[in-house]
């Protein structure tokens, strides 16, 4: 059944937004088990593209297939089945501020599984520890944690259901360089042990070099290049040169 090596297939995607074409013709495949990083200057529609992949926004035209299902025309039941197989780490963490951190991690397990409370709490705690959080902070509320800890908690919540596909939106924004390195290692570690496919948006060139298998560069409404990071840096395209030289 899983003969198709592509977990996401985007074809001829275009988006008209606020009186301009953000995407003109995007074609992008994400292979099972890889870490694909999406980069591009500000305003090139990275976040819009991510939101379209998450079915939070409908593109003007084109097709997005995730897990062999057409996302744009998916009915509520199919969509729910897809949603249970992916996890998302939002840029602002999006932790539920009225729940404690452990309750945040248990939330998807409570909603989507028939496990008993004891098991749910232990599984949540496992994810919690895997994300590198100290057990003592489990009963704290998100507002009581530092930025880096909140990131880890949000990551723990996004992997709560053992997703096959993980979306990370600027996971290292606002962390200091040292923490970025630790966080990248954490992601690589989780990816190898849990067999994740990761789609990640970032601005951080160092982080990109460390984690990416392939990098998709967005510009002029298209995917200008999709290559491993070391090759992309050599790319002669003026926009790509500008991006890497300005960093």
């Amino acid at each position: 059944m899983t003969t198709n090596p592509n977990i996401i297939e985007i074809k001829h995607l275009s988006t008209y937004l606020g009186g301009a074409w953000v995407h003109k013709d995007i074609n992008l495949d994400v292979k099972r088990g890889e870490i694909l990083v999406i980069v591009g200057g500000s305003g090139t529609g990275k976040t819009v593209l991510l939101h379209e992949m998450l079915a939070l926004r409908t593109p003007t035209s084109g097709s997005i297939r995730i897990f062999e299902h057409e996302l744009i025309k998916a009915d509520a039941k199919t969509l729910l089945a897809i949603q249970r197989r992916w996890g998302v780490l939002f840029q602002q963490n999006a932790l539920f501020s009225s729940l404690s951190v452990l309750e945040n991690v248990s939330f998807p397990l409570n909603e989507h599984t028939q496990l008993d409370q004891q098991t749910i709490r232990e599984l949540a705690l496992l994810k919690f520890v895997l994300a590198g959080l100290p057990i003592e902070s489990a009963v704290k509320y998100p507002a009581e944690l530092s930025g880096g800890m909140q990131k880890r908690a949000a990551l723990a919540r996004s992997i709560a259901l053992d997703p096959e596909l993980l979306f990370l939106d600027e996971p290292t924004a606002g962390l200091d360089p040292n923490k970025v390195m630790v966080f990248d290692e954490l992601i690589l570690n989780l990816q190898s042990t849990m067999g994740l496919t990761i789609v990640m948006i970032t601005h951080d060139v160092e982080s990109l070099k460390r984690v990416a298998n392939r990098v998709a560069f967005l510009g002029e409404g298209k995917v200008l290049a999709i290559e491993p990071p070391d090759k992309l840096i050599q790319n002669r395209h003026p926009l790509i040169q500008e991006f890497f030289n300005s960093e």
Binding site: F96, S97, S98, L102, L109, T113, Q114, L115, Q118, T119, R121, E122, L123, L125, L126, K127, V129, L130, I135, E136, A138, V139, Y141, A143, I159, L161, D162, S192, T193, M194, G195
Partner: protein, 370 residues
């Protein structure tokens, strides 16, 4: 469609099969519980037939391994796929124990009552501090009139006063109608129809006009003050103002409070007019009192004092609504439910204190024989 997972035990060998993932955990747990493990001898756990294992499956396996090890039974894992083995090792290394989560102590009811009391007193103290700071700020601005924010003040009057005119007018009109209807039924029995003018005039001008207007404004404006300031607080806009040397009191709080201070008495007159007008229409319809008779009796029977007493309360109500609304807005914390909670509090406290103040006014006026 869902793939199954199985576990068999025979000849000292535990054979794991199928997909060990979240959906299959309950059934796997059940089958594991049924197995009668021997009390001695090495047990070999074979993972050759495992097609998939996620962290939940690995966690289940390690939990059982821990249980068996506790009974001093030696264990050996064989033929697990490399990636699965890695996952199991990773989980075995971590100490995951619910016992390690710090417990939040449960308080007895008497301790809870005490805690709530202290919290309420602290809030009262904070409110008084807030009012005190505002007063000092007010004195500062009063001595430098160039600091008065006329645009903010006028915009506050426009929003809290002018834009509230239709709703206040409509509701007062209906209150006038309802009061006349209820009182008229009784008066008609005694043939005392014309006294509706006295009853209506006094009750609306002295009580209903100011009180109902204040309650409506508490719901409409007090809540909007809290929500607006609360979001600015959560968004760190208040901190930004503070660091720029513009105090939030000067730019946001005082214009709001004084805007309402001016607007609420005006709204009260507006409510009085519509309330009396509604009563007049109803008196004309139900009690056959002509417009002329109504107005003629109104000017002779209702003293100007009634209007002034009603209007005198309005500025006090305005200060209550605006200060409570602003205080609740400024004490919003950075959580999603905080703005909702403080907005509710702002309206409830404002209405509560309006009614308390009204009761105090009644006592004072009756002592003064007004």
């Amino acid at each position: 469609m869902q793939k199954t997972a199985k576990v068999n035990f025979s000849h000292q060998q535990l054979i794991c099969e199928g997909e060990w993932n979240i959906p299959n955990i309950p059934s796997l747990e059940e089958s594991l519980a049924k197995i009668l493990f021997p009390s001695h001898g090495e047990i070999i756990i074979s993972g050759a037939k495992i097609t998939k294992m996620d962290s939940a499956g690995a966690w289940l396996l390690t939990r059982w391994m821990k249980k068996l090890s506790a009974k001093k039974i030696p264990l050996q894992l064989i033929n697990f796929p490399e990636h699965t083995q890695k996952l199991i090792d990773l989980i075995q290394q971590r100490k995951i124990d619910l016992e390690n989560i710090p417990k939040t102590p449960k308080l007895s009811w008497i301790a809870r009552v005490g805690k709530i009391t202290v919290a309420q007193l602290q809030e009262l103290y904070a409110y008084l501090t807030f009012v005190g700071k505002l007063s000092i700020e007010l004195l500062r601005i009063a001595s430098h009139p160039t600091h008065i924010r006329w645009t903010a003040l006028l915009s506050s009057i426009y929003k809290t006063g002018y834009q509230a005119l239709p709703i206040i007018g409509l509701l007062s009109l209906m209150i006038g109608v309802v009061l006349t209807y209820q009182m008229g039924v009784q008066l008609r029995n005694y043939g005392a129809n014309i006294f509706i003018v006295d009853l209506l005039g006094l009750s609306i001008l002295r009580e209903f006009g100011p009180l109902l207007t204040a309650i409506m404004v508490a719901g409409r404006t007090g809540s909007s003050f809290t929500a607006e300031l609360g979001l600015m607080k959560a968004n760190q806009e208040i901190n930004a103002l503070d660091t720029m040397g513009v105090t939030p009191a000067e730019l946001l709080l005082l214009p709001k409070i004084f805007g309402l201070f001016i607007a609420l008495p005006l709204l009260t007159i507006w409510a009085d007019i519509f309330g009396i007008f509604g009563g007049m229409v109803m008196a004309n319809n139900m009690l056959n009192i002509s417009w002329y008779d109504f107005l003629q009796r109104f000017q002779h029977q209702i003293p100007i004092k009634a209007l002034l007493i009603g209007l005198g309360k309005a500025p006090v109500f305005a200060l209550i609504i605006a200060s409570v609304g602003c205080f609740q807005g400024m004490s919003v914390k950075n959580t999603a439910d905080s703005i909702g909670k403080n907005t509710t509090k702002s309206v409830v406290y404002a209405i509560f204190f309006i009614i308390v103040a009204d009761a105090i006014f009644s006592i004072i006026f009756s002592k003064l024989k007004l």
